[in-house]
């Protein structure tokens, strides 16, 4: 990053990639992409490319981690070594461990986990290419994969970030805006229940700006929510040819 752009938003109010302040990056969602997984989803959000596989509900290994009254969700967030400009060591970093935890906690409120006591479900997230906002795109895809696995859910969880770039609150930060901007606020949301299941922030925001950013992120979430439902329907609407 030698040439730092002086301004991330130009005079016309357009961002580095030509988007408006409250515009999402192009989004593509696909459900049922992995033959071996019980549920799976693939998301392309801007340059993010993320694959999620769900296995379970199945017997917990190791057994002592199982819970007598509910299904345990485990979540592994992992970035491929080639997903970022400088090669990332494939060993799990502290950041990945933390993200695995917050993503799991963002999905847990959506799942009827008391229906499958003593079992476990594994959510494996593989970031193939990262471009800012991977945790949000991961949550959006992971929730679809859980639904694809047939796990009873209260609602889909959908996530989107807002933040502050230069001196404006903007929607869906990409990599450059995330790194050079003032603040980043990822939000995960269940629209039908009006429930926020993930909220993080780094940077500096006044309380009013935070409120504005959260509201903007929730609006973004609602748009993605419609696409999520469409993606789920698409899988079951298209009749695949069965190999005899």
């Amino acid at each position: 990053m030698n040439e730092k752009p002086e301004k991330l938003i130009d005079k016309k109010g357009l961002r580095l990639d030509g988007r408006k302040i409250d515009e999402l990056r192009p989004l593509k969602l696909e459900v049922g992409v992995l033959p071996n997984a019980d549920g799976s989803a693939y998301v392309e959000h801007g340059k993010n490319k993320i694959l999620v596989g769900v296995f379970g509900p199945r017997e917990m290994h190791p057994k002592h981690l199982s819970m007598a009254d509910r299904m345990v969700i485990r979540c592994r967030y992992h970035m491929a070594s080639f997903s970022v400009p400088e090669r990332k060591s494939p060993a799990p970093s502290r950041r990945e461990v933390e993200l695995g935890k917050v993503i799991r906690e963002s999905l847990e409120p959506s799942v009827f986990n008391d229906l499958y006591p003593r079992t476990g479900v594994d959510v494996f997230i593989e970031v193939l290419q990262a471009d800012g906002g991977t945790r949000c795109a991961s949550i959006t895809a992971a929730s679809l994969a859980l639904a694809d696995a047939g796990i009873p859910m209260r609602d889909l969880v959908v996530a989107c970030a807002a933040g502050k770039v230069d001196d404006q609150v903007v929607l869906d930060l990409m990599d450059e805006e995330d790194k050079l901007g003032v603040a980043d606020v990822p939000v995960a949301y269940m629209p039908s229940l009006n429930a926020i299941t993930l909220l993080q922030m780094d940077g500096i925001l006044a309380p009013e700006e935070l409120e504005k950013a959260v509201n903007m992120a929730m609006d973004g979430c609602k748009k993605i929510y419609a696409m999520q439902k469409e993606a789920l329907k698409t899988k079951y609407m298209t009749v695949k040819e069965v190999e005899e």
Partner: protein, 263 residues
């Protein structure tokens, strides 16, 4: 951090909170008594111990010369590590850091980093080659809930107590000289954690309340009353209104604590 709690106890905690009070007699917005002791570890460049009710955390700060990150060649490095020492709780086990201790370390780190508490520009020795690395190590010695606030406070108290070694450069080598100067600080963030139990918000949850609560949200607040870091945790959710309410509570509690501590 799961240990068993009976259903009766759960119900009791929730019902007391619905009545606007807590099991230990506190109001919903009352923090437990805070005691801070600074400079207890003489061999560390900075240290502090905090007692937040029965929760006890020690933070030691060590400063050593090291390499800067390639993208910030003129800035010192800050690293935070947290140890959930097995003697602090029957549920802590020896071994490599688990996700709870990693999350704790990263929340403390983010509060200090994003508020730009440490003036890292003043920690550069030789641009691109040598800078000071500030190691902030959090040791939890007794776990009775709200480790996040206790650890963040102790870390800040330890930084305020930290002395930088004087140095000179001889043939490219850093030589430590006699005497110290205080660590350059620009801000003093205070982190406030708010728990949600049966749709009611409380501050400074103690251990039993943590076992019952649906979710928590932690906010680091700086001198201007701005928010520098947020982390939601726990497997429940917040409504958008509750987030706004929590941010107001965090502002008030941080201002109150700031006045008390004179930070």
């Amino acid at each position: 951090m799961s240990s068993l709690i009976t259903r009766v106890r759960k119900l009791q905690i929730a019902q007391t909170i619905e009545k606007g009070t807590r099991l230990d007699g506190r109001g919903l917005m009352d923090t437990r008594e805070i005691k801070i002791e600074q400079g207890l570890i003489q061999k560390a460049e900075g240290s502090a111990r905090i007692l937040l009710g029965k929760t006890q955390v020690v933070v030691g700060v060590k400063i050593q010369a090291g390499e800067p990150f390639p993208d910030t060649p003129n800035e010192g490095v800050q690293t935070v590590n947290a140890e959930l020492v097995p003697l602090a709780s029957p549920t802590f086990e020896p071994g490599p850091p688990d996700e709870n201790s990693i999350e704790l370390a990263r929340i403390v780190d983010r509060g200090i980093r994003e508020s730009k508490a440490i003036d890292t520009a003043k920690l550069c020795i030789e641009p691109g080659k040598k800078v000071f690395v500030v190691f902030i190590d959090v040791y939890v010695l007794n776990h009775d809930g709200n480790l996040i606030d206790a650890a963040a406070l102790a870390a800040m108290a330890a930084l305020l107590n930290t002395k930088m070694p004087n140095y000179e450069i001889e043939e490219g080598e850093v030589k430590i000289k006699q005497g110290y100067t205080p660590l350059p600080l620009k801000s003093h963030p205070i982190t406030v954690t708010i728990g949600k139990i049966s749709n009611t918000l409380i501050v400074d949850p103690m251990l039993e309340e943590e076992q019952v609560m649906d979710a928590r949200i932690s906010m680091a607040i700086n001198e201007e009353g701005n928010i520098c870091a947020i982390q939601k945790g726990g497997s429940g959710y917040f409504t958008p209104q509750q987030i706004v309410e929590a941010s107001k509570i965090a502002q008030e509690k941080a201002a109150e604590l700031r006045k008390k501590l004179d930070w």
